[in-house]
Amino acid sequence: MADLVGVNGQREHFRVVGKPNLPGKVSYALATGVAKFGIDFVVPDMLHAKILRSPFANARIKHVDTTKAWQLPGVVDIVTWEDEDIKNLGATPFSFGKRRPWLDNIAEHEGAEVGVIVVAENLDICEEALRLLDIEWEIMPHVIDILRGREEDAPVVRPPELQDIPGGLFTTPPDENHPKRGNVSFAITVQGDVDKAFQEAENIIEYDLKLPAFASHIPNPPASVAWWFDDPYEGSGKSLHIEGAVQRKDSIGAMYGMPPNRTVQEGIFQGGKYCDWGMRRSQEITPLLAKRTGRPVRMANTREETFDFLMKERYMYLKVAYTNDGLITAVDDYSIADGGTQGSSSFGTSGDQGYGPYYTLRCLNIRQQMEIVDSNRGKMYLSGQHCPFNWDAGTMAIYLIAEKLGKDPLEIASINVHGPTSQEDKNPVPSFEACIEAGRKLMNWQWHPARGKRLPDGRWHGMAFRYQICPRHAFSGYDCKLELRDGVVHLPTQGPVTGIFAVECNAMVVAEELGLEYDDIKVDFDYREKFTPVGGGSDGSTASAWAMKECANILKKMILEAAIDEANNPPPPSLFDFGRPKEPSPLKGRKPEELDLIDGRVVVKDDPSIGVPLAQATRRNLVATYSGRPPAALWSLGRGKMLDTMNTAYCEVAVDEETGEVEILRFGVVADPGKVLRPTSLESQIDQVMYFSQGCQLLEEYVYDERTGVKLNNNMVDYRKPGMLDVPPVDRQFLETRAGNAAYGASGISHSLANTHLVIIAIHNAIGVWVDPPATPDKVLRALGKA
């Protein structure tokens, strides 16, 4: 695969694409603090709102008396789940069929939004009013430990009225052949004859691993402010202004019957998402509250209220058959996964079975059986960068087989990864081979078995390796538009800005195709525009850039045609022609195919010294549009069974057996995103996922009180993210095989490098024992039998 279909997909020379240190188009707004995120907006006459949050892990409000709360000065409105306005409220897209009401009286985890919303003059009053509610709770048994929750005598925690509501597009579909039992739903997929393969196996290993829960941590707590206003340009009736909805402006508008043209949002800054694209209630409800009160209303999550999951807990039990050469012949994966609360995403549960590590193997016998346990631990809204979350189950198989056979895991991986076209394909994947080769050099890779190397300071040295596909899973279409206005190329977009420098990739591609510099492309942010460069992470950037490349070439054609037309038929002189050359244009009589755009000039291809600057070539305003998408990504066609762009990651640790302390000496990453569009941000994206990986394997952990089901550390003091002094060096190297099929053969690196066990494997390689993540010193010592 490659970008064979798009214009100039095979371009060989790049002036702009791939260039480092080109400032982002919004960087100055961010660095100076003038960029406003949803939580920043404050408008005159604004009210504040807060939703009641459950103090119980599983409870139902039987009755609420709001009398005392209403008596509190400054309370302006109180809405409960029984209110018609709430009952009539539609949900944003991503939910079909029978719907759970937008707000009801059931709280499935501690901190869940439930039952009542208070609107008041300030936040303190909101909080006081919530305290003054007289609530009669029915407290129901809860499940925090999913191993307990799967047992037959465990209390069924999901109330009957929520049992048959599909949570949305990304929730677990029921498995018709294996009906739900108690808290447990089942997801089972089988390929090949697994039992026979085990019977015939030369070797079998069995192991288990625990995937940790990992917190979402959108840096800017979700928030919105909304109000209604008279818009004389749109006729009678009010229009909606909402800030903080960002990417979902139109779908939130639709919740209130507002078409896009009557839904205004000026802010473009969305903050980091890390694939957690789910909207929060604080971003959806403010229009209703503003309508009811006649004033602008703001609602914001606190940091404590943002501890949703980016990854849910899972226990995995693996049995793997392999030959004496290390070729895997059967995989039997039994998982017990946290299904979370109603409406939780199926990524991390059944959604991982569609693709994952096993389908990159030549092994044809794969069984994945999963118990998905309803729990009261919390909610995962959509996805997370570690997704598919089971990837490191495969990484561990390769490591363990290498250990058993006394071989290098790189060698074992190379034997097992199938060829580009299918699991039966024995040809090498060029991208994989190139990554491995570069990785050996980058890391000065000298494999040793567990407890095989001590550092001069006495600590044990450990090393680990993993590979992954670089999938382009972005499948959106894009409505691109480019304008030539007064000789300047404009790229209008609604944004949003999510930290992935997507519009910059688009601007670079436009500059490349039009023979201009990056700074020549003016990006105009306007919420009324259709084009959004987002549709995933870096993979969305490569996909939108492909569509924008088409658009740029349409504009180019228009420019060349207009230039010739104006050269042949010069417009009559006008008073405002200052600076325009009076002599005939050298483009006169030419054909479009004889011309090109180079260095900001329309020139004759055969002799580029003949030409005119773009601004003089045509005075027309030209608008080019292109709606479409790149050819389907190989990932979406093959789901791991077809391979194009790949990456490898490495880790070296030092473990102190006396203290249990683990130091990551360095991470190494060799990634083939197909083609590097914007290297500076690509590097940062790699750093970010490696730090996420470090965090989830060494530092971050949810702590619950089992008895009450209350989360004990949903704050940034007790749930610690890595800081400047914690992070190890990340050595990175990019390869460009051009094997993807978005812009110029790019795929991106989304969902490919975040991992749950690279460090854990390196720790095992150092000290020869397994430690579940996060490998805190006490756990390391316990694993060593020292604590």
């Binding site: 660095a31 930290g499 800081g723 002094l725």
Partner: protein, 231 residues
Amino acid sequence: MIHEENAGKGSAVNAVPVAKSPFTHASTSAQAAAAIGAIPPVLKEFNCPLCNTLSYSLNELTKHYEECHPGSVVPRIVVLNINGKDCEVLIEPHWTLKRALQFRLGLTGAKHMCDRGVCGSCTVIIDGRPVLSCTTLTVECEGKAITTVEGIAANPKWKPLIDAYCRWDAMQCGYCTPGFVVSAKALLDRSPNPTEDEIKEALSGNICICGTYPRHAQAIMEAALKLETEG
């Protein structure tokens, strides 16, 4: 422009000052200066935080409290020196500086990430020292010189720092970035040629979830060089 949380009842609320593209140093610096310029030095309107009733003096508001909210703590005026400008701010005693900056003064460069003093996103400089505005009471700040990121952005002297941050992509989503810039400025004030280790130490209280950590030292060292040569 009215920044007060409850002020200006009935005013044209759709006049939201959002940053407008193109975002150059000149345009964003001007927007930061405009945000500072819009802070009224003297308060003329006093909205009751409890019921939004408008008074025209603190005395009038105090009387309103006696009549309508007896027993409640009456808001007070503090005079803050923000980015070199003295301004009266009506606050309640428990208000943090972060809250006053956002909800009274319209300065939103200091960001709310953890609200517990661990992430550094809300950093401002008070009397030359980086301080976390989410854990600092506004009443403690009277008589002290407060610099926010807007003050740094509006001051042409610090253009090299902002430029370097942009050139080196020392940001992804950018939410934590103003906090880093303020910490960096405080560092450069006391140590104009910091080493990489000094930079890491100085920024160790700033959390970036997007993982931009390796970028900051590059940016700050480049800025330091430029600041030195430009005098």
